[in-house]
Every structure is written in structure tokens, then in C-alpha cells.
């Protein structure tokens, strides 16, 4: 386990994980909750929008290719005021291409490649992105 300790009195960082692949969703959930994150999950952009209406997230890890509503559409529909106060990191398997560029243009602040990261590397990358 990562062995992270929560500083006294610090609030958990709230993370929304948007991923359609159930097994990946479960894995990332276990990985992220092992660190000091409060994690909610959504299986597509539409479900993610509903979650965002209910609460504020510090970080949204967003897959791009998803059924029902894909990642870029989610970004288009997310209210700008909300987007301004959160950080969206694309977590997909696209290392380049039109979809990824579009997501960055729509306000995503970074991207991580699923297939290249081990769980610990994923955590390190998430920590880095939050600090950045």
C-alpha cells in the first residue's frame, strides 16, 4: 500500500473518476482510495455530470471514449464556473489525436496514459497533477 498519512485536520481531496470499463473503474477506485482521496465513480459523461451537480470535486479523472456520453461532450456540458474551480485530467489510452486535443482545448489540464502507468505511477502522477 502507499502508506500515505493524512495530515491532522486536512480534508480529503475529492476525486471523481469517470471510466466506462468496470474492471478499470474498480481498480482505479482501490488505488485512489488507498491514498488520501475521497473517490466517487461514474461510468460515462452523463453520470459524471449528475455527480458534479451534487458536489464539488477537486479533481476529475476523465476517460474519453465512453458510451452514452464521451469525455469531450462531458467537458462541453460542464458549467464553466464549475470547470474553473476543478482540475480535469484525461485518463485515457489516447496518446495523441483530435479527441485529446479537443479535450485540452475544452479545459482539461493534463492527460495520463492508462496503459503506461502502474498503480503507484498512477498515484504519483495524480499527486503531481494536483500539486501542479
Amino acid at each position: 500500500m502507499c502508506g500515505c498519512r493524512l495530515p491532522e485536520g486536512a480534508a480529503l481531496l475529492k476525486v471523481l473518476l469517470v471510466e466506462d470499463e468496470e474492471m478499470l473503474r474498480e481498480s482505479y477506485y482501490i488505488i485512489l482510495t488507498s491514498a488520501v482521496y475521497e473517490v466517487d465513480v461514474a461510468a460515462n459523461g452523463k453520470a459524471a455530470l449528475a455527480k458534479c451537480k451534487e458536489k464539488h470535486y477537486d479533481l476529475i479523472l476523465l476517460d474519453l471514449m465512453m458510451p452514452i456520453m464521451d469525455g469531450t461532450t462531458f467537458l462541453e456540458r460542464l458549467p464553466p464556473a464549475y470547470l474553473a474551480r476543478t482540475k480535469v485530467i484525461i485518463l485515457s489510452n489516447l496518446s495523441s489525436g483530435a479527441e485529446l486535443e479537443k479535450a485540452i482545448k475544452l479545459g482539461a489540464q493534463g492527460s495520463l496514459l492508462k496503459a503506461t502507468l502502474s498503480p503507484k505511477e498512477l498515484l504519483a502522477a495524480v499527486r503531481y497533477e494536483i500539486a501542479a
Binding site: M1, L24, S27, S34, N93, G97, E101, A115, S118
Partner: protein
């Protein structure tokens, strides 16, 4: 008395000679078999005939002389006044040439090359036309056959292009589909390996690590295939910005430091202190190209060897070199380096694994940047790859 007689006989001789000359010319024209050569009156009436004309058009002299030359034209041409127009043009410009279908006496068609020349007397008055016709049906047949086979080839080429695009699409789709389960395996094995499901017993660690690295290789292959399909189909988007060569090389070698340490190889970036050039490149893809060369250099160099990376400016280009002390490449294998799926057998190739896509892709990407890759190698001594890239404009150098 002798003189007039002599004059007379001289005139007679001259006359005879002249007649002989005319006869010889007549004979010459009449005997030619490969060209139809005949005279037309100013109105287009046929006035003479030769062997070639008979052979080409099928008429004998006695049945054709006195007829209008439009008899050789197709009905549609006659209706369009083509014969008359050709005479008018010949009269206006001195000569007219045409290549088209003409009709023989038996009604069959032949492909003719026709030249009609206006004939004028010393006073410039039109006295008629000379018409020379050649039967080019055989040539026409060959040309048509050639044109047809060209059309077939073109169609086949289009079909191949279509199939190739379908193949790229298939590879792309298949790779995408394969990547998801491969990624899930990676996550789950990674979680096992990194203790998310508790401590892994010692004796289970080795197979777990093997499974993990095998899966990494699998993902590598899938990614390579995807990149290739994307690049081959022209869907790879290159976004060029000025990229500091020094920074990029430092970043790449830092990321590889662990691998090199593991292989007990030394990796040195050897740039002149003053070298501060930036190249115009897509940072991600160009970085992958250089990383690929660095990784190759390491893979094909035995433990304890060294890899040196250098850079130099050459005119409006930067040349980045990756030099190793590895197994080298024989001259006959150099040509195969950049072929898709080509792997060159050597002392280390069985050990290092690879899919023969790296250099193929690297060269494609570098050429998308209007750069080039070259190689120098001595078997047993080592290999140097050179990547030439256009420098970023002076104003844009960071």
C-alpha cells in the same frame, strides 16, 4: 546541217531525259506500298493512285480515279463536312494533318494518319492537293491495348490503396480493442505486484513479475501497431513547436537512467557547452523517436557497453547522434533496417525482443518533420544513428 540536226537530237535527248525523269518519279510514287499517295483536284476529285493507296483503301485505280475523296470518310464525318474542311484548312495553312478512322472499299474501317498538302503553281494559284495516308491500325491497336492495361493497372492500384486503408483501419480497430483488456491486466497485475491486495509471497513474485513484464511488452506491441496504423493512414497529427534539443535529451536520458544502470551501461549526453539549438518538432512524437533510438542502442549493446548522445548544428539543421558500442549491423542488413516488421538477426536479437516497427515508425515521423535518419555501423564495433532535423527559426528559439 550537222548543227541543227545535232540541236534537234540534243533537244530530243533532253526531252527524252525529262520524260524519263517524270516516268521515274511516277514509278517511284506508284510503287510505294506503305503509303497511299495520290493527287486531288482543287475540288477534291481523285486524279492519281498508287500501290499503297490500293493496298490501304482497297480500290483499284480505274474504279477510284474521278471520284471525290470524301468516299474514304465515315458518314458522320461527311455529314460534318470534314473532307471539305480539311481541304479548306490545307488551302489556308498549306497543309493539314489528321488521325482518325477512315473507310476501306469493303466498308471496313482503318486508323489513318492523313496529310493533305496544297499544291500551287508558280503564280501561286491552287492546282490541287497531295494526299498521303498511312494505315496505323496496328499501332492504334497497341496504343489502345496499352491504354486499356493502364486503366486496369490504375484500377488495381486504387483497389490496393483501398485494401491498404482497410488494413490500416483493421489494425487500428483491433489494437484499440486489444488495448483495453491489456490495460486491465496491467492494472490488476500492478496492484498485486505493488501490494494493493496484500504482501505477495516470495515464491509467487517471480511469475507475477514475468506476467507483468510480458503484459508490458504486449501493450508496447499494441501501441506500436496503433501508431503505425495512424501514421500510415496519415492520421498522425504533428504539432510542431520549437523544442530545445538539450532539454529533450536530458529529459529522455533521465527517464532511461534506471534501465541503463540495470544493464550496467553508461549513458552520456555529450553536447558542446555552447549548443543551445531548438528544432521544430512535435515534442511527444520526436521524443518517442529519440527514445526509440536510445532504447535500441541500449538493447543491442552488451552489458558494460556505453551509449553516447551528441548533437551538432549543420547549416539550418541540427544533427543528433546516438552512438553505441554494440553488436553493429552488417552493410547488407542496413537496407532492411527501416522495413516494417523487419528484424535483423544478431547475437542479441533473440534476447531483446521487438516487433520491427520502431525504426520504420521513426523514419516516417522524422520525414513528417522534413528531417532524415541515417546510420553508420561496423559489425562488432557499434552503431551510430544520425537524426537530422530542421532548426526552429531564430526568433522562436526559446
Amino acid at each position: 546541217m550537222a548543227k541543227p540536226a545535232s540541236s534537234l537530237s540534243m533537244l530530243g535527248n533532253y526531252h527524252a531525259a525529262l520524260l524519263g525523269e517524270v516516268e521515274r518519279y511516277k514509278l517511284l510514287v506508284e510503287s510505294i506500298e506503305d503509303y497511299a499517295i495520290f493527287l486531288l483536284s482543287p475540288e477534291g476529285i481523285i486524279q492519281s493512285w498508287n500501290k499503297g493507296a490500293q493496298k490501304t483503301k482497297g480500290y483499284r485505280a480505274e474504279e477510284i480515279i474521278g471520284k471525290h475523296f470524301s468516299i474514304f470518310y465515315r458518314e458522320s464525318d461527311k455529314e460534318a463536312r470534314k473532307p471539305q474542311r480539311e481541304l479548306e484548312l490545307a488551302q489556308q495553312y498549306g497543309r493539314v494533318e489528321d488521325e482518325d478512322w477512315r473507310v476501306r472499299s469493303d466498308g471496313s474501317r482503318f486508323w489513318a494518319n492523313v496529310v493533305i498538302t496544297a499544291l500551287r503553281g508558280p503564280d501561286g494559284a491552287l492546282v490541287g492537293f497531295a494526299k498521303v495516308t498511312r494505315d496505323l491500325t496496328e499501332r492504334k491497336k497497341h496504343e489502345d491495348a496499352l491504354r486499356q492495361s493502364n486503366a486496369v493497372l490504375l484500377q488495381q492500384q486504387r483497389e490496393l490503396e483501398r485494401l491498404n486503408a482497410a488494413k490500416d483501419e483493421f489494425i487500428s480497430l483491433a489494437s484499440h480493442q486489444l488495448r483495453t483488456p491489456a490495460t486491465i491486466i496491467k492494472q490488476l497485475l500492478g496492484m498485486l505486484k505493488e501490494g494493493f491486495y496484500g504482501e505477495v509471497p516470495e515464491h509467487q513474485l517471480a511469475p507475477l513479475l514475468k506476467a507483468y513484464s510480458s503484459n508490458e511488452r504486449q501493450i508496447g506491441i499494441v501501441n506500436d501497431l496503433l501508431r503505425i496504423a495512424q501514421t500510415d493512414s496519415g492520421r498522425l497529427i504533428i504539432v510542431k513547436t520549437p523544442v530545445s534539443v538539450r532539454e529533450l535529451l536530458m529529459e529522455l536520458t533521465d527517464a532511461r537512467a534506471e534501465t541503463f544502470a540495470k544493464r550496467r551501461q553508461t549513458l552520456a549526453v555529450d553536447l558542446p557547452a555552447t549548443f543551445a539549438e531548438s528544432v521544430l518538432a512535435d515534442r511527444t512524437h520526436f521524443g518517442m523517436v529519440l527514445d526509440n533510438l536510445i532504447d535500441n542502442a541500449s538493447k543491442y549493446t552488451p552489458e558494460g557497453g556505453s551509449i553516447r548522445i551528441g548533437a551538432a548544428r549543420d547549416g539550418e539543421s541540427a544533427i543528433i547522434s546516438v552512438r553505441d558500442t554494440g553488436v553493429g549491423i552488417s552493410p547488407e542488413d542496413v537496407g532492411k533496417l527501416y522495413q516494417k516488421f523487419s528484424r535483423i538477426p544478431n547475437a542479441l536479437s533473440d534476447k531483446v525482443g521487438g516487433n520491427g516497427l520502431g525504426l520504420y515508425w521513426a523514419r516516417k515521423v522524422v520525414s513528417l518533420h522534413k528531417g532524415s535518419i541515417s546510420v553508420e555501423s561496423r559489425p562488432g564495433k557499434g552503431t551510430t544513428f544520425y537524426v537530422r532535423m530542421p532548426l526552429a527559426g531564430r526568433g522562436s528559439v526559446a
